[in-house]
Symmetry: C2
Subunit: 207 residues, 2 copies
Amino acid sequence: MRYHKIPDEAIRRLPIYLRGLLLLSEQKQQSISSRNLAHFLGVNPWQIRKDFSYFGGFGTRGVGYDIKRLIKQIKKILKLDVVHKAALVGVGNLGSAVLAYPGFRVYGFDIAAAFDSNPKKIGRKIKNITIEDVSDLRTLKKRTIDLGIIAVPCDAAQQAGDALVKAGVKGILNFSPCYIAVPKKIKVITIDIAMDLARLPYYMPAR
Amino acid sequence: MRYHKIPDEAIRRLPIYLRGLLLLSEQKQQSISSRNLAHFLGVNPWQIRKDFSYFGGFGTRGVGYDIKRLIKQIKKILKLDVVHKAALVGVGNLGSAVLAYPGFRVYGFDIAAAFDSNPKKIGRKIKNITIEDVSDLRTLKKRTIDLGIIAVPCDAAQQAGDALVKAGVKGILNFSPCYIAVPKKIKVITIDIAMDLARLPYYMPAR
DNA sequence: GCATGTGAAAATCTTCACAGCA
DNA sequence: TGCTGTGAAGATTTTCACATGC
């Protein structure tokens, strides 16, 4: 059956599956059942099957899923079958950690440029990337960079967002803890690392 | 009306409201309507009202919400009315950024200890915190530290989680991109910064 | 036999419209 | 009048049970 609408929640889970499958693939495993993959990832088997079924189903009954094939399919759905270049704005503590983070690679991301407003930082090199002046953000268009990563404080976040939108990026990962207004067709995903910690105590028993 | 079950999603949103209210409070604003708060945060007014109503409602009809009072109420719900001490495991790039991140403060978090397994790092000081050996994690119990933050690579994450659980933490913020098995009563929230980026292209129009 | 794929039921969450109160 | 609080409707998501196909 073809589904009319694919749940956003299913899309949110696909990268989880993908990461696990990439790990298993490295271990030379050929195929896996929803049951085993679920156990490996700490989720439910029927959730996995349902999520895949939204796209038509990728497995073989009685056998399971071919890992290599499944990886390809998920990458295609998520549009990760091409390398995406990203520009980082803000090379402070968090920004530097993002630049050095090895985890982006597995999904096919390439942080290809970094910008800062601090003259002391401009021109410095981190991981083969020379830090540029934020006012040069408009050069992005020519460089086929379609993603922006914001790692500046709140009060500079909207400005960074505006500059990235102007530079032609289609999606933004926002590490600042503030709302950024953008045109509707630009997708913004905000990660506030403190905010996630903030809902942890709620679930903890009183001491 | 009293609700039997409070949606997890509402809990997830409370820190967003809290952060916005804290900002407004700094600007000396006394009260605010759901409409204005919603606009400020980029969410819906009825969502805000509904979320607050799960806890009995905090506003005054015809007027709005008293900001100071509302902050207190949300903090109490999230159990943020007491300072929570956290222990960081893994002082690499990401761990250092977490240690230096100023955003935890507003929610009343205090990263009170940091651990690493690298002998070269042990004893070094970052932000008034002396890095300790991971094997000393068991000393946490005596220090009233009830939260753990994991910032180590995948292959060391489960081990770090086990050690934190043994040390008596009740909640874990996991920055490693891997599933960590813990006893049921321990709450784990996982943030994989690459995974969030991974679902961005899906929402972007093809170039 | 075995594991997927899926309709249908159940649970959860969001939106709405308006009653209730300052 | 204005804005909150909320029951009810609507939409979405999860869970389940089993039909389907290798």
